[in-house]
Amino acid sequence: MRNFVVRRLMLLIPIFLGVSILIFLLMHFIPGDPARLLAGEGATPQDILNIRQKFGLDQPLITQYFLFMKGVFTGELISLRTEAGVMEEILPRFWNTIQLSLLSILISATLGIGLGIVAAVKRNSWVDNLVMGFSLFGVSMPVFWLGILLILLFAVVFDWLPAGGKGGFEHIILPAITLGMATSAIIARMTRASMLQVLSQDFIRTADAFGIRRNKIIYKYALKNAMIPVVTIVGIQFGYMLGGAVLTESVFGWPGLGRLIVDSIFSRDYTVVQVGIMVIAMTFVFVNLGVDITYAFLDPRIRRR
């Protein structure tokens, strides 16, 4: 087990380096001079030259990369746009994204697992059809359209919830539902499939033959075994949410990390984009690793692979 974890952790190093190089190169291929942009309207060539020097933008690319990596480890990187520390910019925004993703995954896991179990237990009934219908509805819904419709309904027509921005708890409800819709659909499908598989297995049939009550079979024996793949999918989906919330954030004006990165791409704030994407990518990789380790722990056969 320990070997497995250590090996997986070692594999993170090349991915970390790869992501950092790729994003660094991507950002430097984007046309547009950040110095010109920072200087604003009415700047003199000298202003622009000074800014270029100040941020090391006049250095060769390879030097810039090493300066950047050094900055990542020393924490001395500053945002080109606000001149505040990069982490100071990123962490509050990342925390907003985490809050949104956490509530979202909570809603969608509860809803998805609940619906999945019901559908599996009442297989081929109208309930099952309804749940499967909902799950396809959920994965097919464009998030931004769902967001627009929810705003139209709950903010404009009924005026129950705010249309966007960040404030009290009521501000997070619509974005969390929007972000969680597709995920709850995926979780519902996974739960249903997994439950059906477990229910068809021998030990359940044996228990059935022994005359144990069906409810007890379902909730005590089947559920426990069926949850293994579901936990995996919940973890992976949570990873996706952390990075894929850009559209939801932009529909609702939620000040999350995804939007910070998009805005920073447009304002050529290299350092924020680079570190921001690395934060998301690494979180994603770590969440996946956590899921894999949990999985290996639950299912010993994996460890040997």
Binding site: L37, G40, K54, I151, G164, G165
Partner: protein, 510 residues
């Protein structure tokens, strides 16, 4: 000015009789972007300026009609040769951090700007020779040469004065200084959560008397329409940049007040005149005839813009009507033929979201041009990339036709014609990126700068405008209005034509 006086009158009346019910209330001000910095000398964006104008005061400030009125300076004199400005300061004023406001504080701030390398250093550095502390409450600016617009630069956002204590503490770290604003203004910073909210609290010891509002929350909501919905539902008290389509609906809402004021901003299509066929005046005139400005104003802008017939907006000092170009696609096609083209392919670049309805306008323009045999390939760009693209060394200028806006922050014709139409003011440092070059116009611009008689000066600018329009220096589109919507319990909102909305003197009615 009249409106301002009336407001001031009632404000003082209430103050005298102590109508305490006017005091209090937490104001939510919804804006489209976060402030970038709260260091006045380092800002180049509108939200930063809107917030800073609540936290800081300048020596002088703009009234709603762009007149320059006293603020921290009670009065001032200008020497006969125009090179020495002497300001008499308000007494007993303190910064939020407790530091005293006096002549030394003024000197410290402006000396710091000139010596530093911040975004607005170039606004003062070319003019200020030295600053003298005459006594505790008198300060003297000595200029390198006579410059009539100097008080305008002091009323500019960058002239808002920062506490000397903060400069001593953070003067070598612009980023930190921008996060710790300390001014003499009616409100002091309490919380700043990036991209979310800036909260300011009433300054109890404000030198003009405590402001009415207890606090202002500047809430960041990027989408125009979402901000409007928040005001409609009462979650926010005020917002600006209201999409024109919402005007009628908001007018019908009894809980809201709508203000529709002209701004100084002119929206136009610029031509890269270094490139054929845009160097041909016939082609440029064809563009002007091909675009139906009335339709742009009535349909796309829903009446919140007026067709433009000059590089100046009618509210900029020095404007003279020129007649402009009527919509006449047949004439446009004929002019193209005369220039030797049956059909024309051009690239039409535009920002997206920088100006109200900019992208919507371009899509309409594209279709109008197509009717006159001009095929425009629309190239939308993010503002950042766009500025880089449009302002580069002349030999690297790859753009053809582009949409841009201009609003002179001084309210004067000079600050339109000189930067945009002087043949020697070329990018990347200058703003004449159309490469407009007419010696006669150059001459008139210089004459206008030197002329001190307003009537003669106006005549000079009228002639320049006429020539520029005949040369089809731009494809003239429209003059923008600014629409501001707020809770109708709010009184005393000020809308400056430089697209800044102030609530520092506002109050809630019971």
């Amino acid at each position: 000015m009249k409106k301002f006086l009336v407001v001031a009158f009632f404000v003082s009346l209430f103050a005298v009789f102590g109508f305490a019910e006017n005091y209090g209330g937490d104001f939510v001000y919804a804006m489209g972007a976060d402030a970038v910095t709260l260091l006045p000398a380092n800002m180049s964006d509108n939200p930063s300026e809107a917030v800073c104008r609540h936290i800081f005061d300048g020596l002088v400030e703009f009234a709603e009609d762009m007149e320059i009125v006293p603020a921290l300076a009670k009065s001032w004199e200008i020497s006969e040769d125009g090179t020495v400005y002497t300001f008499h300061l308000q007494q007993g004023v303190k910064f939020h951090d407790g530091a005293a406001f006096n002549a030394q504080a003024v000197k410290t701030y402006f000396d710091w700007i000139v010596a530093s390398n911040v975004k607005r250093t170039s606004l003062y550095e070319p003019y200020i020779k030295q600053i003298n502390v005459v006594d505790e409450n008198t300060v003297e600016f000595v200029l390198h040469f006579s410059f009539g617009g100097f008080t305008s630069t002091l009323a500019h956002g960058a002239g808002l004065i920062v506490s000397p204590a903060m400069i001593a503490k953070y003067g070598d770290d612009v980023g930190e200084l921008g996060k710790h604003p300390s001014g003499t203004g009616p409100f002091a910073l309490e919380v700043w959560k990036r991209a979310e909210v800036i909260q300011v609290r009433a300054n109890e010891d404000y030198w003009k008397g405590r402001p009415y509002l207890d606090s202002i929350e500047f809430r960041v909501i990027p989408e125009d329409i979402t901000r409007v919905i928040q005001v409609q539902s009462g979650d926010a008290d005020l917002t600006m940049r209201v999409p024109p389509i919402m005007k009628r609906r908001l007018e019908g809402d009894k809980n809201l007040t709508l203000r529709n004021d002209p701004s100084l901003r002119v929206i136009y299509l610029g031509f890269n005149m270094r490139k054929a066929p845009l160097d041909n005046v016939l082609v440029r005139q064809a563009f002007n005839y091909a675009i139906d400005k009335e339709k742009l104003c009535s349909v796309i802008m829903r009446g919140l813009a007026t067709p433009s017939d000059s590089p100046l907006s009618p509210n900029t000092w020095g404007y003279a009507p020129t007649g402009g170009y009527p919509y006449d696609p047949a004439k446009a096609r004929e002019l193209l033929k005369q220039a030797g083209y049956d059909e024309l392919d051009i690239v039409l670049s535009t920002p997206r979201g920088r100006y109200l309805q900019d992208y919507e306008t371009i899509i309409a323009v594209q279709a109008m041009l197509a009717d006159s045999n001009i095929n425009a390939d629309v190239q939308p760009m993010e503002w950042g990339e766009y500025i880089n693209f449009l302002f580069t060394e002349p030999e690297n200028s790859n753009y053809e036709v582009f949409l841009l806006g201009w609003a002179p922050s001084t309210g004067d014709a000079d600050w339109v014609l000189r930067p945009l139409f002087s043949s020697d003011n070329l990018p990347p440092s200058g703003d004449n990126n159309t490469f407009y070059n007419n010696p006669k116009v150059d001459e008139l611009i210089q004459a206008g700068m030197r002329e001190s008689d307003p009537e003669a000066r106006h005549a000079i600018y009228a002639e320049a405008q006429q020539i520029i329009v005949e040369d089809a220096g731009w494809a003239f589109l429209y003059n923008l209005n600014q629409l501001v919507v707020f809770n109708n319990k709010v009184q005393g909102v000020e809308v400056l034509p430089i697209e800044i909305v102030l609530v520092k003197n506002a109050w809630f009615e019971n």
